[in-house]
């Protein structure tokens, strides 16, 4: 495995030396040395070509971007990189110490339900024993009922020590012979059977596939999806252990190399679109990177801008987006990156309540999947932008800001009450400002200063000022 990497790296080095031979300046060499120190020897050759790429792309664009506002405040990239490096090292050292905390370490006043990855055979035997119990119950004339853990909001609990939502152990009975639960229990039985088949055959299907196996019963996909979550909660395993995956939604681009089902993927060479995040995370491994941080982007459009401008070459980073609300795969992938590479995560989301909500889903989990929050949440995500205070700071013109609707304001106010916001005073301040000014703006609002303002000025300046919360 290692051999194949070095092979491909060598070719890259050759190529990069050739292309950068003419424009190699002393100062650039210095940077490459700095980075050299920081990264592991195997990855070192890749970094060697970084300055050249940045240099060439800059040269191309510098001509027409000098007049961008705040451009003059930008210090040379070398300075910014130094700042980032310091931040990266400090955060990695700090996070490694607190990593070990789990639910068991805390003595909470109530018991919590958490699921774990189970092997296929144990999922199968869990289902089988459940079905046997039901069969006995039916044959003895008592009908049957499922004991389904409740995933209602009242059964959720935010644990500040863990910085994520966990599920309490309340559960509700789902008897067949009751008019309000008969449908759900029939669907549950059917889903159990389908998952059982998957276990026997050892294959993966998508949620959509699952839905289409019995459209008549499920009626719409939301119903089969909900019951699928119930089933994984009931069996005490993660949803991925059921061999049911969601369609690919998230994409990643940047300075990351990983293996997907045995194939090595270099995310710098995935073109503009990047690599789709594989739905089943268990086949992903061998992550390696020379990035200084992970940049989480809410929107596809901003992601595309950054990918096309090769932002990750100017400032070594990994760019991830789930195109809106993140799916399970993207969250698992982010968590895995964070754990294996130990990089800080910076988030670029819209300046509206939903942007923050998306941030919260990455950070402390969704209520729907709280039973698996241990695997799905990535702690310590920094809110880089676009923050409500940025609107004035970067003099975003009025016509690019939108008035918040009644619903927006209500969501904003509700979020101010949420624990995950309250634990971070900076966030509270920003959100209060948003609710007060009643203005929101999307990442795209920055495009008023030119399409590349985001990658050329805004992000570099933010990074330079360490302006994250």
């Amino acid at each position: 495995m290692t051999e194949s990497i070095t092979g491909s790296v060598l070719i890259t080095v050759l190529f990069s030396i050739r292309s950068s031979a003419q424009i190699l300046s002393p100062s650039r060499v210095k940077i490459s040395v700095v980075i050299h120190f920081h990264f592991t020897p195997t990855l070192c050759p890749i970094t060697a070509h970084l300055p050249s790429m940045a240099e060439s792309s800059k040269k191309r664009r510098r001509t027409n971007t000098d007049d961008l506002p705040f451009k003059n405040k930008l210090k040379p990239d070398s300075t910014i990189l130094q700042t980032l490096k310091d931040f990266s090292t400090s955060s990695s050292s700090s996070s490694s110490s607190s990593k070990t905390l789990t639910l068991q370490d805390l003595s909470l006043p109530f018991s919590c339900r958490e699921v774990s990855d189970l092997s296929l055979s144990s999922v199968q035997s869990n289902i089988e024993s459940l079905v046997l119990r039901i069969a006995h119950s039916i044959l003895s004339g008592n009908g049957f009922a499922f004991d389904v853990p409740s995933r209602a909001a009242t059964n959720q609990f935010y644990v500040p020590e863990l910085d994520r939502i966990v599920l309490k152990d309340k559960s509700s009975l789902r008897p067949f012979a009751n008019i309000s639960t008969v449908r759900k229990s029939a669907i549950t039985a059917r889903i159990l059977q389908l998952v059982h088949q998957l276990c026997i055959k050892g294959i993966h299907v998508t949620k959509r596939d699952l839905f289409y196996t019995d459209v008549k019963l499920f009626q719409d996909q939301i119903q089969s999806d909900t019951v699928l979550d119930d089933v994984s909660c009931m069996l005490g395993c993660t949803r991925s252990s059921l061999n049911v995956v969601a369609a690919e939604k998230g994409v990643v681009v940047g300075r990351l190399i990983f293996s997907d089902n045995g194939d090595m993927i270099d995310c710098t060479k995935m073109g503009m679109g990047g690599k789709a995040i594989p739905p089943n995370i268990d086949r992903v491994g061998d992550m390696q990177s020379d990035a200084l941080f992970i940049l989480l982007v809410e929107k596809d459009a901003a992601y595309m801008r950054l990918a096309e401008d090769r932002f990750y070459n100017r400032f070594p980073c990994i760019i991830v987006t789930a195109k809106g609300q993140p799916d399970v795969a993207t969250r698992l992938f982010l968590k895995k990156m964070k754990m294996e590479l130990n990089l800080p995560v910076l988030a670029l989301v819209d300046s509206d309540p939903y942007g923050l909500k998306i941030l919260s889903v990455y950070g402390c989990g969704s209520k729907n999947m709280s039973y698996d929050s241990a695997n799905l949440t990535t702690p310590d995500i920094k809110w880089l932008g676009v923050r409500p205070s940025d609107l004035d700071k970067y003099k975003i013109p009025e016509q690019c800001r939108l008035p918040m609707t009644e619903q927006d304001i209500k969501t904003g106010k509700d979020m101010l009450e949420e624990d995950f916001v309250k634990k971070n005073p900076g966030w509270v301040e920003e959100l209060t400002l948003m609710v007060k000014t009643k203005q929101k703006a999307e990442i795209q609002a920055l495009s008023t200063f030119g399409f590349q303002y985001l990658s050329e000025v805004y992000l570099p300046l933010k990074l330079q000022q360490k302006d994250w919360l």
């Binding site: 289902i127 046997l132 009908g143 049957f144 067949f176 012979a177 039985a189 059917r190």
Partner: protein
Amino acid sequence: MDSSESPTETKKTKSKTPRKNKETVLKQKSPAEFFAENKNIAGFDNPGKSLYTTVRELVENSLDSAESISELPVVEITIEEINKSKFNSMIGLIDCERVDAELYDDYETEKAREKRLAKEARAQEIQAKNAALGKKVKETPASKGIRGRGEASFYRVICKDNGKGMPHDDIPNMFGRVLSGTKYGLKQTRGKFGLGAKMALIWSKMSTGLPIEISSSMRNQSYISFCRLDIDIHKNIPHVHVNEKRENKERWHGAEIQVVIEGNWTTYRSKILHYMRQMAVITPYAQFLFKFVSDAPEKNVTIRFSRRTDVMPPVPLETKHHPSSVDLLLIKRLIAETSKQNLLQFLQHEFVNISKSHAERLIGEMGPDFSPKMALKSLTPQQLVRIHQLFRQAKFDDPNGHCLSPAGEYNLRLGIIKELHPDMVATYSGSAQVFEGHPFIVEAGVSIGGKNVKQGLNIFRFANRIPLLFEQGADVVTRTALKRINWSSYKINQLQDKIGIFVSIVSTKIPFKGTGKEYIGDDITEIASAVKYSIQQCCIQLKSKIVKKMQAREQQERKRNLSKYIPDATGAVYNVLKDMAETQLHASKKFRYGDDDGELLRKVYENLITKETLSEKLAKHVEQVDYEMALEYATQSGVSEEPREAIYIQPLETENKIIDLHSPFFVFRMFY
């Protein structure tokens, strides 16, 4: 309509005034003239509406008249279509054939004729094609000739009632003088302005030139007054043709009014019928017979709205003015009319809600110039203004609603049931409230389902117990029902259910908007909130009924709904069991399962337990649960709604003989 009249008007004035005098001349106009020119104020916008309004005014007068003597109203209304030649013979005009055809507006030129023929040919072609293709097309109406302006249709409207009748000598003035009436006092009446019957007469004079005919007799009167009259519009005085006394053999009392007017039955047919139907809803104690007679028998209509109750709302009482509702002019008039001598007595007796002590306090507040004993006649205009000011500022108790006569919940409910046959109905009668010194009462009824009811909201509005049919969109009731009631919270589907909303408002003064008495504006918060509250009260009553009904339906459908999912559930369970049984026995490894489970799987493998076994067991369970729940429901909701089951009683005799009578639809079995 107005614009077409103005030329004739100017012509008249020209001929009257001398040519020299070209400066503006001061002219007086009689009220009759004014209303003749502005017919739309009274609802005589066009021939169709005029027919509708005539019917309406006559019916309302009849009801008022009968109610005023506490007689259960019987109203017969007949509309008789009169064709042109009959009309001409009525007015003594000989039918004239057209000689110079080109003189007329509807003359068809050669070109137009060619065009029309070509068009007709084309239409026929299309129809033939459609017919060949087997498409069902509705008959295209026979091409109507261009209807000339002169082609008016005339109707004789006859309205007969069993009311109070009119004093013989008053009849000419009651019909021949606009703005004269018996209903001017401060009380709840249907009519108000002394316009209705006179406007019908003015309209008949304008459109046909025929006089109005009135027969009337009062109770215990030995004769019937018969009067034929028309109106001198310029002088606003009656012009009596005949006024005689006739024999009253049947001891009939009431009035019969006959008027011939131009109208339009085709376009206003549905409005008139709606009006009659709604009138029947709000006055279920009245009997209406509506007839439309014409030469074409297929067009004839006869509808009888029969009486369903003899409980009649009390006659509305005439009341005194509330101090906060009077203006300066009214105070002056009251002073002129009162029999009281001094100020104290005047305040105490001519207004409601002013007691003697209260009046004294008020006079004290008026200032040093006033004293309780001062003569009314000595009041200066300035002092009157002071009284008015104080009336505006001082606080008075609200007038009570005793002077009002609402239809009553009983009558409203009965009317709704009688005319709509709804599945459910709820009514509510609010207490009296006040708007600008006038008391009002809002009553509401909400019905669900019924005959001839459209899906969605069907709104029926009544003001002082007359139906309002026009300008529904801006009305306070419509707005409230559409915008301020959250129907779904009462388990009512605003779009799919057949909802009837009936709101009746009675008041000494209904704050109508616009010129006609057609709708009540949405800008009066007192009325709007009272309407909303009343409708909500009805909905609350309905909600419990609806919920009960839904529960009952759920009871009936529970077993079916539960059984529906048995195959899905058992199929899933059985398939897992089968897979397990097969893998287990094929692998022939050590028993992974306990004794019970192993036994179960063996049975599954040997087909001793199949999907059907599971289904049967589950179905049995469902049945048992259903039975238990039905029992529980029955104990909770009472015996009346328990699920019905066929009961078979064994006959006493062991041997019985039966005869079955077979029909395609049923079998009738006789035991003997």
